[in-house]
Symmetry: D3
Subunit: 229 residues, 6 copies
């Protein structure tokens, strides 16, 4: 019996979908099929509350295009629309932000997040608090690299992220680093090697946990806040 | 490439090991080998802080008997010794309590825990607080069924647990139930079916997450609180 | 100099807009004009995360139809879309949920919320926690009266709400009651009189605070999380 | 129908009363009368717990001199005596500290406070925690300008406050600034203009919210912690 | 070398001073002298925020009558004036509320408080939160016995307190009971015996801790929030 | 009637026992006998979770060698094994970490901890959070002086600790310092004198509080989490 994990990019930038598909493929088991899709309606990148709100229609439509998915991973570090999607399906829906935090909490006592713009920091902090993992996070750091700049492969962007990782280790006492953007998925291995500590990409974490949840038969609850409308 | 997940029962009751091995086997992937072992030194069941402290020597020895394990799952809901073991290895070490909480947090907004004795409640509450997941947990409920009584298959025990699950749904507004003892692993499917909501067993969750962590290449950090001595 | 406060009903039920317009008119100052509008695109009522996500497009469009507003009040107790709208304007944007909580916190040490359905409780609790006011709230209670049932004026609905208010006073030790739905705006005075304690309607509170913020010249910040895209 | 808002300076320095009266007059509506009064018994400025305790008798007497007030604003950023006064009246009593925090929370996701002396910082932090708004406050900063030095109009004092505002923006990521002393009321507009972000004075905020509460008919609760003795 | 501990009753009811003197005498060491004094100015009992504020002048005067005290214990469970007194002396000042909480936290994982009137509950809860011990306290329960009624020795009062202790054990899972009023000092031994669990009186705890602090040479800090004016 | 306080060094380094015995002797009352003992089985110093877990057997054995003790003080700042020991006795068991925190909370509003290695920081932070005292602690600072290096009396070690104390005062706004290792007991007086603020050693605090608890007749609860097995 095989399983199908739908990995949705909730922004409309297809090159980012390609990047996260590669990350997902590397972690999926042999009996798991990764299906990727890209939103067709909404912002080109998701940076802040307005983009988050504006991306839902396209994200929801993407999920509906794949009714046979056994789990859904939303490839935006803000966990855009995750709560809402859970009301619309009974398969597990996992945001890559929460996935990264849960993994980090199991392999380190304290981590820091390195994300894109400062404008995204309060939202990530609020998510950490809502998920309850704020006490495990030393600091959410902005590299001031915009999401789409990550697509260009500009070494200056990599350097800005590198500097924040170094600061997280030296100043925050971080024992692990969480990369705070789906567009950083391709940097995980390089930085882990370079800094000698766990570097966690949410896409990778999201696929790994989704596969685990499907394997154990976990379903999104149908009562309470996630009950179908 | 296959992977080996070591599932340790940190108490010395072998019949419980058999039960958790069955739960683990049902969730493991085809390319994953579950290795189980039982502590040879310590209490017959782990109920409260004194048992927790007294079980570490045997648990540590069990882990050392399996140096080729790719991940370790500690099959005690109190997450006995997990922090200490992480200082002694670089593979992921997962407690079944934390695993169950992380899974619950991804499929429901609010859950309740049904455990064995009242004496274990404060420790579980403290773990929830330490992991940051206390706000997601409505209540930790004691069924007053001792751990070893679960081994006998006495219907009266099942009935006590059933009554607490019902109360968790009716009084707490729980959207999912976490079973708070490794010895309840065989009850997960029955209660999920009966009550129509997710019922999460920690052994199952622990194996699922451990497999995911190994697949994504996650390692226990080697710096900070978990640095090797 | 007069001021214009836009009061948006983010669901598409016009009869509810009429009700909240009446509540708003009673509290606005003589030099304040209340402009009401109703979403033209989205759910007929907002109950849970999926409705919240689906209401944003219509809500945003409604705000854009009134570029001369000096402040915006979002008349949904879940504070639907408030963060996102703040990224799209520099006038104050106030949700009726947060308004009610802030007022309650200034006139009582402990309050309880009486809302519509149980499915909305976790979202309101999360808002309280995010706003920091969770410690002041004894309990969020569901009356199990759906939003649209409030429109019919059925005495049985009023009775269900009354029962929860009584329980909040007797069991929770609530010193004030927050009505957790825009559709309850017309019940504020009656229950305050009947129970002899403050009963706070969010629409009324939202308009009162919005007027105050405009009068003091407060603007939504343009830097950080609410910076224009 | 007009309304009367009593603005009490709980220290005995009349020049400070003049300053806050000017701030209050600028925000009050046309149908609102601001009545100011100064404590006749107590410390000349309120800096720390001992001054707070010693100011209550004079503050209470001041409130009793104005039995026709429709609301009371206590013009000390520590919210001196606010809880106690609420037990002695049924009109709203608002501290300028809490008013500023509530306003800040509605126009920014994160703010910093710039106050006078370091000795006042823990008390303000405790208030933030008690009101629940600690998570929204990045940092409480001391300018080390004593309260009474603000009265002299010394440019060096202004410079010290300016430096802390700059640090709050640059180091804390503050999106708005709360001025942590009634004696800074005259600096609000200047700093808002200079730094291009919301700068919130508590006196202004307190009057604005008090007027809103009166307009909506809100009363201090008469049951529970604020019940009359 | 002997030490003198000043035990101040901050209300003006001398019979209560006699009762607490007896409790203090039973716990003091042979080389410790307990000096008791009663406020000469303020309320006859302290129930709620207004009484707290009104009791400070008399309490402060009482402390000044004993400049040779090596430590001060404030015998009101609300810890009336403790922060302010610490600004006025360098010897340790201990409130009986905090003393009881600290002792409870060292001998039990969870306790409940049984106090006098419901109106005092929010203040005690706020103290617990401010001291950080809220997570250890299951519930603050009101017996609805007024402070002065305790002086009469009416068995009905004792019965009301007994009922709350029983409920704390049965419903809250309390492992220890904190008596939430100085006037209950004489009930500690009886209830401990009767219920077979620790029952902690704040006067007793306050004297015990004060003696320990003096013996170890601990002084109230002279910098920061408690710096002398 | 005299009392016997057992002070156990849970590591096997006898020279450290001598040092803490000296600190304890200086604070004990004339009618108190301090009995010291050293673990005979376990690590030479306790630095991190693995050492903590490995020290319990020896610590427990040490306690059992002194059945006549009226209280037990565990002389490791991590409060190693304290919860477990409480299940094995009805006399008070006090960890020197918690003792120091409780004392600090009564003489200052904010303190910082200066401990040995960075690897111990998360555990101390978790203890602070579990005890509820995290909000009172500004920061846990690592001096990077290993426990056993303290035994050598190397001035370079003292200098490293001094630098952190200075930083705690200057950067953290600490009003008191807690020394985060039993091996620093002999430095308390020197640093208090040098820096002019309270410096709290846990051994001293632990003995002072233990004596107080015995004097007031406090016992470890026998129900709930600490019930005998």
């Amino acid at each position: 019996m095989t399983r199908r994990i739908l990995l949705v990019n909730p922004n409309t930038t297809a090159s980012m979908t390609d990047k996260i598909a590669a990350a997902a493929g590397a972690v999926a088991g042999p009996d798991t099929t990764i299906v990727t899709d890209t939103s067709r309606d909404g912002p080109a990148s998701i940076q802040g509350y307005l983009d988050i709100a504006n991306s839902f229609t396209g994200l929801h439509a993407a999920m509906r295009r794949h009714p046979d998915a056994d789990a859904v991973v939303v490839a935006c570090f803000d966990d855009t629309g995750v709560d809402a999607l859970r009301c619309a399906t009974d398969v597990p829906v996992i945001g890559i932000g929460e996935a990264a935090f849960h993994v980090a909490a199991m392999i380190a006592t304290r981590f820091s997040v390195v994300t894109t713009l400062a404008r995204s920091v309060p939202g990530i902090e609020d998510n950490l608090r809502r998920y309850g993992l704020a006490a495990r996070c030393r600091r959410v750091r902005a590299s001031e690299v915009p999401v789409l700049a990550l697509e260009g492969g500009d070494p200056a962007c990599t350097e800005l992220i590198r500097a924040e990782i170094r600061a997280a280790i030296d100043e925050d006492g971080a024992e692990a680093i969480v990369l705070g953007c789906a567009g950083m998925a391709d940097l995980m291995a390089m930085f882990a090697e370079e800094f000698g500590l766990p570097v966690i990409d949410g896409v990778t974490a999201g696929v790994a946990l989704a596969e685990g949840l499907v394997r154990m038969g976990a379903k999104t609850t149908g009562i309470g806040a996630y009950a179908p409308a």
